[in-house]
Assembly symmetry: D2
Homo-oligomer: 159 residues x 4
């Protein structure tokens, strides 16, 4: 059995309803195309992406920073406490073939940096804009809709 595309959906653990709606749509679209959603397993954008994936019949993975599985949002198919704290951000992106950032705080910024450092494609929906004077590469590809982000992420993941 060959592996499906894995798409990390990253964003803050506390998010406004519009950001959660976007993340839920992203999760659902990834699942409908047969992709696996990877998240940090907590609330906000992470929970919304998992909820979208599960409701669409897909798989949602949560890689938790702490040691307690009960910290996971209730929508994770697979919830894995890592016990390595913020270092788990590197695992979230390492586990992915492409990354979609929705909104974002500092943790999200770190995951964007890690993903770009690893050479992963990153697509953004109302997320950080990176300093254009500093940017060594393509950076975050800004998208307008969940459909556009998921289309581009699947195209990039296939390569």
């Amino acid at each position: 059995m060959s592996q499906p595309p894995y798409i990390a959906v990253i964003g803050p653990g506390q998010a406004e309803p519009p950001a959660e709606a976007v993340a839920e749509a992203v999760g659902a679209l990834v699942a409908r195309r047969g992709g696996v959603v990877v998240t940090g397993g907590l609330g906000g954008v992470m929970a919304a992406a998992c909820r979208g994936a599960r409701r669409a019949g897909g798989l949602a993975v949560g890689l938790l920073p702490g040691t307690d599985r009960a910290d996971a949002n209730p929508h994770c198919t697979v919830a894995l406490p890592t016990g390595i704290g913020e270092a788990r951000n590197a695992l979230v992106v390492r586990a992915a073939d492409a990354v979609i950032a929705v909104s974002g705080g500092y943790g999200t910024l770190s995951e964007i940096g890690l993903a770009l450092k690893m050479g992963l494609p990153v697509f953004g929906l109302d997320t950080w804009e990176l300093d254009p004077w500093r940017l060594p590469g393509p950076g975050i590809r800004a998208c307008r809709t969940p459909e556009e982000a998921v289309d581009l992420a699947f195209a990039a993941a296939r390569r």
Copy 2:
């Protein structure tokens, strides 16, 4: 949705057919009871446990040491490259509610030590015998059959 029990099945990446048969039976029994099988994602005992789980309709998670998903055995439902090398052994046991060791080399020994240090229950099927003069606690509970190991692991995981 509350989370099912997660059972780590640990053992060497190259194993003899009898050890693989035992690991496959363990994977199948865990899956039939609704548990999630967690492994290091590679071959041998890990692949056999995943195969058993998948054939029984269950979920098999592989936490890979390297950065390439293609290293995973073909039976992982979810295959996650971690990129953290042998440090991923700590994640395999941290993600579990109970551990079943089948046969074993040095990596397995390290996972047994990590699990016991974390206070996780460890059940053994033809695996390392720990030095009785050194043992600070219950150590590995030796089992005779996959059924016995899975029964005890589920009972321990529920606590």
Copy 3:
């Protein structure tokens, strides 16, 4: 013996001479005040900061992503291969009481995000400017000189 302040000096592994001169001055100033310089152990800004610290008689720590100590720049007092890849970025900032960013690529961006997420003070010398519309807190305190950055970092580390 109580521990001295630990200051992470973060920046790209390949840097222009002016950035290296700034990093070397930062390393020297940290060492002269009795601080320990923590870096990712490789070249560019990391090597320059270590060189500055060593020449001033101080301690320079390098936390390497790979498994080979020979990857370290020659100025590390203590060079530690971690074998955990980009996840070591979390260790570099976790080991620090304050962070000084000099220039920077994507790895540096990830360390800035991780440090701010952990609540560590971050001081910048010609580094990333963070999107002001997204910033949830103080972000990076921009400094004009190595002296200013080191003064502020020591003041923040003491708290």
Copy 4:
């Protein structure tokens, strides 16, 4: 400047006075030969090894499991909180060229397993005896004195 040998001294965080005396002697001998002592940074055997190294004028590194530098024993030259919990055991051995185990609980057992898995030479002073029926390689070389262990560790580290 080329790097000196790094010797991990592993053992329990709570130890009897004889084990601490052995660990302190090991730390001192490593330091006198110009080696760097690497430990998990906590008490018991770890603290004793660091104390021996410091009193002999050497360097002692502590890689802590938690996020607070104040957890370190007072003899660490360099104390690094990693925040990755028991996964730091992999870093302690990965940072070393050879490993000396003194006494030992489950954490020590895990480090022995990780070191042997990584192909590192492991020397033991009154530590775990490994199941001879299971042993795939040389295992732990049992030593009778700190001098013997340090002699063999330096010879092995040089290769």
